[in-house]
Symmetry: C2
DNA sequence: CTGAAAGCGCTAACAC
DNA sequence: GTGTTAGCGCTTTCAG
């Protein structure tokens, strides 16, 4: 594995010069440059990124902490991050903590030990914020990719995604279709991370003068299977629901399945709407109506932010960036309320 | 960010000693060790992995080249690899080539430039084998994670997964249920990477004396959407099919959807079986019967192989390791042939 | 324009 | 047991 000085020797110059031509740094004579390039080609030289990182004082990797990949949204988002990172010449170190604090700590330590230049955190709710703050205090750039609590300032630089608005959009869509008895399946617990999605939904209902009772909602179901069972219990509890708002696509898919199992036609008898717009949403039948979250953009913003933090060592005060607004994507799982087809 | 010598100074020893206590290397006095540890704690010292990598001549990362994450199997497998890698104290650098040769080349160069210690390749078919072979020749350990061509020796150390057998198992299951007119949707082209899955299927049919005509099969459909449309054309072409073998879970899910769209009851009127057993397979309704591939084990074996290659620089001849056999997972999408319910 | 020299933070012999 | 001495492969002043 040829090194810089191998190339230098072959080209009859010194390592510094080779380095210069390779990085287009200082001025190098055209003729010398050619000789060096030839040597590089001949020796199949590839710069040793580790050595470069050490010399430059910073590695060329950015870490992305993901709590789990059970929800396909994470891999999808990770891809978006990777694209953004690569465009800037960095590599992405994907750190899957598997929701295990020990594993997360291990990763964070490693990153703190300058395995990576900075860390992007996917889901701030499933992470030990304190550890992150420590990291940050030790000079490591940290940014949270999806801050969804508009009422609290983030403890670290973040990109904010307006999930509250997503909830509103979903509700308004259902209302516009004529629905008045609308149930809700919320992915997180009552005080969990989906709270603002739910609040948006509730507010929109209230604004339209639509009643929303406590029995109309069920919390803590964030997988397909959980969504399915949630829908079963919800529909058993209040059978005259004509639509269900789900705070996440994955459980929304489960709700769709429950409807099928109960023989409810979607959307003729039951409308279902989710939030996020994961790939599966349009691959499923009936295709899921959902509120798409601008994840590509969020990823890009997060990467821009971390680059900025990496540049300005003088770590400016925690800032917050807004992404583009979420956007309704109407597909086949929602439809007009048919007054004729009231159930049971 | 404290360094080794900072710690050394504070503890009144030399860097080498600190290094020794940290790595439990040479013998260190109990009392000295304590002093060092105290200094480490106080300074919140974290070893710089980049420097260590440079000094040791090898980084602590393994790269995983993934061609795409469109198929959820890849992230799932990546997770398994990550677990295996971490257990051995390494970090996983996930390199998503996005099916783009340029991107792949860039990653391979970086890895060759010792960003990583070795490279694991997920899907050898969507990758430029030559580049990999070059890498290998330059001394970088490379292993292919899922070699599925029993007739060809792999060009690089690989772990073999018996997809041929998976095809056989799928066919035998269908046959045992009484099916005689069985269609096939194959993910790859006729000569592509799923060929052995299909061959296994065909052989099992032949062995059972069941006719399989060219019109019963359709190639090149490997996504949900493609699986769906493939099923439509296949069933239009030969309407008396009572079961469909699909070489991959994702398109099998599409076939399930097509059945629903056509009003075919699964499994009463149509049985569907896939291969792989991705998470979605059991989350969908009806749950998909499939042949599970031992991916956890394959990941582990691949990691073991690469560790071995990393140790024995003397690169032994390309070896091949077999994983556990695939295994039938019966769920709700397959059932007995009901002679009564013949279609159109 | 090119070379010489120092050093990034750590490890690994080998002395003491 | 612990310190000394060299590097790992590259970047980066600073001379020439």
């Amino acid at each position: 594995m040829a090194t810089l000085s191998d190339v230098a020797r072959k080209a009859g110059v010194t390592a510094a010069t080779v380095s210069n031509v390779l990085r287009n740094r200082g001025k190098v004579g055209a003729e010398t440059r050619e000789r060096v390039l030839a040597a590089v080609r001949e020796l199949k030289y590839r710069p040793n990124l580790t050595a470069r990182a050490l010399a430059e004082g910073k590695p060329s990797t950015i870490a992305l902490i993901v709590s789990s990949i059970a929800n396909p949204f994470y891999p999808e988002f990770a891809l978006a991050v990777e694209r953004a990172v690569r465009k800037l010449g960095y590599f992405l170190l994907v750190c899957n903590t598997n929701d295990d604090p020990a594993q997360e700590k291990a990763y964070l330590d490693a990153v703190g030990g300058s395995l990576a230049n900075g860390v992007l955190v996917m889901n701030a709710d499933f992470v030990q914020i304190d550890e992150l703050v420590h990291l940050r205090e030790r000079g490591v750039p940290v940014v949270l990719c999806m801050w969804e609590k508009p009422d609290q300032p983030p403890p670290l630089p973040s990109v904010a995604v307006d999930f509250h608005r997503a909830g509103i959009l979903a509700a308004e869509h259902l209302i516009a279709l004529g629905h008045r008895r609308i149930g809700a399946v919320v992915g997180s617990e009552r005080t969990g991370n989906h709270i603002w999605r739910y609040r948006g939904f509730v507010e929109a209902l209230a604004r339209a003068g639509i009643e929303h009772r406590d029995e109309d909602v069920i919390f803590g179901h964030d997988t397909i299977d959980e969504g399915r069972s949630a829908a079963h219990t919800l529909l058993a509890r209040v059978p005259d629901l004509s639509a269900i708002f789900v705070s996440n696509d994955l459980p929304a898919l489960g709700v769709l399945q429950a409807a099928a199992e109960m023989g409810l036609a979607v959307p003729q008898q039951l409308s279902v709407i989710g939030i996020t717009d994961i790939q599966l949403a349009h691959q499923v039948r009936p295709a899921l109506t959902t509120v798409a979250v601008p994840s590509e953009e969020a990823a890009q913003q997060a990467v821009e932010m971390i680059m900025q933090l990496m540049k300005d060592e003088g770590a400016p005060a925690p800032l917050l960036r807004e992404t583009a607004q979420p956007r309704l994507v109407v597909r086949a799982s929602t439809g007009r309320l048919l007054t004729s087809s009231t159930r049971s």
